[in-house]
């Protein structure tokens, strides 16, 4: 084991010990402020078996993760092509950029009330908000990806008379791919933040709903469980995306692919 991971483990272990000591035997921190490890365990058992906030943990997780994935896919599916188009066509860029500049300063979370007004508290409103949130980083980075392609590559392809469709598929997209993935990573992060916020504001199921009910019930153990789930599944989806990135960018050494 490296020195780095040894110290890392030691830190986490020390922190866990301090957590246990201050909340349980010493009682320095009142259980109404921060849960003890036992409270967290009880909350976890309760939500996984008998359920909490309209469902068991498994249902909440499936619900939130599928909304994030769905919203992310819609945003990436529309944002990346639009970014590529704006990068490749001066006309499209001139036409769309001002509208984009007008809408972009509005933070994604500020769309939540409007989404609720339009679509209510159901899944459609969540997907709309995630779409708005995750769309922008996908567009910007795909656009930057195209605009920063090595001119020599493009000139070579043009000189060889590459037809347009092949040019897009075999030159434009692969060359912009590292930046596209940077955008996707930011989009995924934005998807999680917005989903949690939207579910906190109003939802029927989901990890944000657990947090929302636990907040009203003043149930610190359950708040902890909800936060931990958000972190764990945020991490899992980010890892999956990184895995996809390394598998699709096989021609780029790892160090270069991650600026």
């Amino acid at each position: 084991m490296s020195r780095r991971s040894a110290i890392g483990l030691l830190t986490i272990a020390t922190l866990a010990l301090v957590w246990y000591l201050t909340t349980m035997p010493l009682e320095w921190i009142s259980p109404g402020r921060f849960p003890s490890p036992l409270d967290v365990w009880d909350a976890l058992r309760q939500v996984s078996t008998t359920g909490y906030a309209n469902g068991v943990l498994y249902q909440h997780i499936v619900h939130s993760v599928s909304l994030v994935v769905l919203g992310f896919l819609v945003a990436a599916g529309t944002g990346v092509p639009l970014g590529l188009l704006m990068g490749a066509s001066a006309r499209a860029e001139a036409l769309i950029n001002p509208i984009f500049l007008l809408i972009r300063p509005i933070p994604p979370l500020a769309w939540i009330p409007l989404a609720i007004l339009w679509l209510g508290l159901g899944d459609a409103a969540k997907i709309m908000v995630i779409w708005f949130a995750a769309f922008v980083p996908s567009v910007i980075n795909s656009y930057t990806g195209v605009r920063t392609i090595e001119p020599a590559v493009i000139e070579a392809a043009r000189m060889l008379g590459t037809p347009r469709r092949r040019f897009v598929r075999e030159v434009l997209v692969p060359a912009a791919a590292p930046m596209i993935f940077t955008g996707l990573r930011l989009s995924l992060q934005a998807s999680w933040t917005t989903l949690v916020a939207a579910e906190l504001v109003g939802a029927i199921y989901g990890l944000g709903k657990i947090l929302n009910v636990a907040q009203t019930d003043i149930y610190p153990g359950m708040i902890f469980v909800g936060m931990a789930c958000v972190a764990i599944f945020g991490w899992v989806t980010t890892r999956l995306l990184a895995e996809l990135e390394t598998r699709s960018l096989t021609w780029i050494p790892l160090a270069e692919a991650r600026p």
Binding site: I12, R33, P105, L200
Partner: protein, 263 residues
């Protein structure tokens, strides 16, 4: 000019296309609203939103005028953002210099990084009630990570010869951090501040949607409950404008830093 775009536009053409895009956008919006394709209550026309925006600056909504709501949001933002910078930047620099500190803090930081800032809302409410501490904690959760990361990266990528020169001259740890690492990583730090400000401002709006009794976010929730779409949209515009002002201010700082040759 990048050769991907085979067609080069003149300045007039860029402006023309831009105007065309905006007119199409506002035209479609007005058409959808005024023709009744979308219920008028849910999609008011652009000019109605503009009128409402102006009205909100003199008629109070949800207990205060638009400026007053904005002012209380901006004050919270300033506290949380400054706190994030005041802790994040020094900690980042220290982590960049002392390896042990880096090895201790990084695993904790990585574990907390995936908690969306907004997920701190329940604990913020539990610890601070509806007082000012809650929103500050949320803004801090949004603004702190980019400050720390950029100061750390800046400090890590300071050129070795510079540090070795300082060390050879017998410069102490504190002076190396303040007089070598800090100036050398200023550009990275200021870039981090811009990201921080964006995330902090957005997290604050989210927090105000959930727990607050003043602020633009609170105003939006009240407007949503009243089904007053014009007010919701006016608040969105105001939020966007403040975001732009914050970003312009930090860009100016960035430019000033570059001019003074600190970068």
């Amino acid at each position: 000019m990048n050769p991907v775009q085979s067609h080069v536009l003149t300045r007039a053409e860029i402006l023309g296309y831009g105007a065309l895009g905006l007119i199409a956008f506002l035209g479609l919006w007005s058409f959808l609203s005024l023709s009744g394709v979308v219920p008028h209550q849910f999609l008011p026309a652009p000019h109605e939103v503009a009128a409402r925006f102006v009205a909100l600056t003199s008629n109070p909504f949800a207990g205060a005028t638009l400026q007053q709501h904005l002012a209380s949001s901006a004050l919270r933002f300033a506290y949380g953002f400054l706190l994030g910078a005041a802790i994040g930047i020094p900690l980042g620099l220290l982590m960049g210099w002392f390896r042990v500190l880096d090895e201790i803090v990084t695993p904790l930081f990585d574990a907390l990084r995936f908690v969306a800032p907004i997920a701190w809302v329940p604990f913020a409410a539990l610890w601070f009630g509806t007082g000012i501490g809650g929103p500050i904690l949320i803004i801090f959760a949004g603004a702190f990570p980019p400050c720390l990361i950029n100061a750390y990266r800046g400090a890590r990528f300071v050129s070795r010869p510079l540090i070795e020169a300082a060390q050879m001259l017998g410069t102490g740890n504190l002076r190396i951090i303040v007089e070598v690492l800090l100036p050398a990583s200023t550009a990275s730090i200021v870039a981090g501040l811009r990201v921080s400000a964006g995330l902090g401002w957005q997290s604050l709006i989210g927090a105000e949607l959930i727990v607050a009794s003043t602020g633009v976010g609170f105003m939006m929730v009240q407007a949503q409950l009243d089904i007053s779409t014009t007010t919701v949209m006016s608040a969105m515009i105001a939020i966007g404008l403040v975001g732009v002002v914050i970003d312009v201010a930090l860009r100016a700082l960035e430019a000033a830093v570059r001019r003074r040759g600190l970068a």
